[in-house]
Subunit: 426 residues, 2 copies
């Protein structure tokens, strides 16, 4: 069926982008707005003209820019010059220095990037904002995806703000809270009585039939270009002083691949003079990508045994890009149990005032484990990215946080309770 | 009992603040960091030296400032010059222009201020950030409050980031999710087997006994000075062009009073040349302040019959300041049903991509009702403040959003479902 895209052709061509290139077979494609996968099935990477970018973007120019969002980095983004930034303010999330937590972990410096403060409360907003921009270029009025999680809510929110319609396919087991959020954003939600694979398949057929714009990080190569802005921001917020490590949770693989792409972009245009090592943190119960790195073998599917639902991806669709990123960066892998994840949630909350969802704090859990194993030098500077907000999943926090002190309204009972628990009040 | 405050005395005196003045009897007090209520029981207002401020702050100076948080407005805040801004990035939330929603409401211009994007997801972070700063000035290591809601979580988060301890008293009926968030932030949570009054009373005794810093908007006059930054930001984000109305939800009264204080500050130093009218939106089931305005009588307690829990305040403790703000601004009052509140949640989500909690969208619900009643001129410019994030309460969204389309994974069934619902796919 014909695509509804109304891309106007060469006259709008992006000057900073050369083409899309298959990460598997190397075939190149013109970077049209509705670019999808290579004919070989591989995912495309967007290839830039760094010489052109170097001429148009300098650190000084950037430092004077008022824009405080991911769209601050237009020269490094795959959009036409006239494409407007979508309405929701995505990105430029805070990077907090965390001296107490650094001390606890035994490292010199630690920074926490709280990407849970994006408009729909996760890093996925960076990809969805890009999807909305590219859908606009394509002349599409409708965007679709299949997902139960942060990708869906971020697409629904960002598209609603831009006046675009969304069709979102969820498996019938999707949590009601997430469906409610989608419907509040005005998405047409199709709950498919079947597995996630059935859901994905129906969405694919519908997208093909009606020519909707496809927001699927496994198919649309522009999405990881949106996600890379988290790396651009970290570096600018650090004054271009490169940390030794950046820790991040890994599920599908698109996020760590995007982060790495941003860092490589900055290296290519001379904004930074070296690259950090990535720390790829997965849940022990679902770590097909880390297993591939650790064994040196190809990745293969794995069960999804973790409460960190946003990274419970047994069949990662961005495996190629993610594995390349981890290997190129001489990265570390680390797998953490659900208990370690929930302990990291508490640790980040109590030491930094940052409340992350389980998948959001998995990078920090991994960092802690590596520190305990003596794998991170004491003089290291590390950035830990929190990818989603804890308010997305309070159920697990409830199960892990323990019980409060419960007493009648009486001072003697309060003092007794403090004494029993060894709480020294002063 | 002695206060643990170690305030160092006159040499640290704030140059921009004259004193605290009772809004009821007019008595003045030196503006020490641990200032509480007047001896007559009235709440104090912080009185500024606007001549001094005018000399130290200009619009041009402000426009060049890098800081993008509520601490951007230091000259207008009641802190000593050397007091550090607390770590969490509070404020500078986005102000979105909402042309489609403006059209739907039949007004010329509408802006939505999304304060749910603060670090702990509500406007209350502005007050808590101020509490943390003032506790620091007082030399206090512990802050306490009694609350079940946004005030508690924002205090716990902001204090944790600053390395301060918190003791938080909640009634035993407090939702488990909110308690879990507090405990994740490392707060010592005391669950009191009794009513909210029992809880408040025990917290008061404990605060008196141990000299903790008091984060209670009914007692600590600095908190509404933190909240006023929402008004400062709105005006700067509008380029100092004063809107005709600002709509906001009202519970305890501290927030609308703070908003008004910020606007009056800007008027006093000549940054704006007129003042907007406030729209005070309450839930029909709990509107003691609006009732007082509407009847011209004193306020008196009311039952708390609304699902908008953050504004279900039958005994508003900032009634004096709030009523003064509404009257001084020649404000409008409007009371909305729970159904109107939930409809506004959907409306904001689907037209603006902003997901607010029920209390957070009550201002928008009120604005919609006033528009329908013909009380807002068609040429009006209005700002609607969303005070908290919808992720704080997905239960009500679930109840109100309806059911998704539920089908097996089959294209014919999908087309049939669209046709039955009159969904024109293209």
């Amino acid at each position: 069926m014909p695509c509804s895209c109304q891309w106007k052709g060469k006259e709008d061509k992006m000057k900073n982008v050369k083409y899309g290139k298959c990460v598997r077979c190397g075939k190149t494609y013109e970077a049209v707005p509705n670019l999808t996968n290579c004919s070989c099935g591989g995912i495309l990477d967007i290839v830039y003209d760094y010489d052109y970018i170097k001429e148009s973007l300098t650190k000084e120019k950037l430092s004077k820019r008022e824009e405080r969002s991911m769209w601050r980095y237009r020269e490094l983004l795959p959009v036409e010059e006239k494409t407007p930034a979508p309405p929701l303010r995505v990105g430029w999330s805070p990077l907090y220095e965390a001296p107490r937590l650094a001390g606890e972990l035994g490292i010199a410096k630690l920074y926490v990037k709280d990407d849970g403060l994006n408009p729909t409360a996760s890093l996925k907003d960076r990809a969805s904002s890009m999807a909305v921009a590219k859908a606009g270029e394509a002349g599409a009025k409708v965007i679709a995806c299949s997902s139960t999680g942060n990708a869906a809510s971020s697409l629904a929110g960002n598209a609603a703000a831009a006046g675009l319609s969304t069709y979102i396919f969820v498996p019938s087991r999707a949590p009601k809270g997430k469906v409610a959020q989608l419907m509040t954003f005005g998405a047409t939600v199709v709950s498919v009585q079947g597995s996630y694979e059935d859901t994905f398949e129906l969405s694919k057929q519908a997208i093909d039939k009606w020519g909707w714009y496809n927001r699927n990080a496994a198919i649309n190569p522009y999405l990881s270009e949106g996600k890379k802005t988290v790396g651009l921001e970290i570096m600018e917020q650090l004054g271009w002083k490169v940390p030794d490590y950046i820790a991040i949770s890994v599920g599908d693989g698109c996020t760590i691949a995007g982060l790495w792409k941003g860092l490589k972009d900055l290296y290519a245009i001379g904004f930074i003079d070296r690259l950090p090592r990535l720390i790829s943190a997965q849940a022990s119960g679902c770590c097909p990508l880390n297993r591939a790195i650790e064994t040196g073998e190809d990745w293969y599917p794995m069960e999804e045994n973790t409460l960190a639902d946003s990274i419970a991806v047994g069949v990662p669709r961005n495996a190629d890009k993610a594995l390349m990123a981890i290997r190129e960066s001489n990265g570390l892998t680390v797998n953490v149990s659900d208990e370690e994840i929930m302990a990291a949630q508490k640790l980040l909350g109590s030491s930094c005032g940052v409340f992350g969802e389980p998948a959001g704090v998995t990078g920090t859990a991994g960092l802690k484990k590596l520190c305990e194993q003596g794998k991170i030098p004491a003089d290291a500077t590390v950035v830990s990215v929190v990818t989603g907000n804890g308010l997305k999943d309070v159920e697990n926090a409830i199960r892990s946080c323990g019980e409060p002190i419960s007493i009648p309204g009486d001072m003697d009972r309060l003092m007794q309770a403090f004494a029993e628990r060894g709480i020294a009040v002063s």
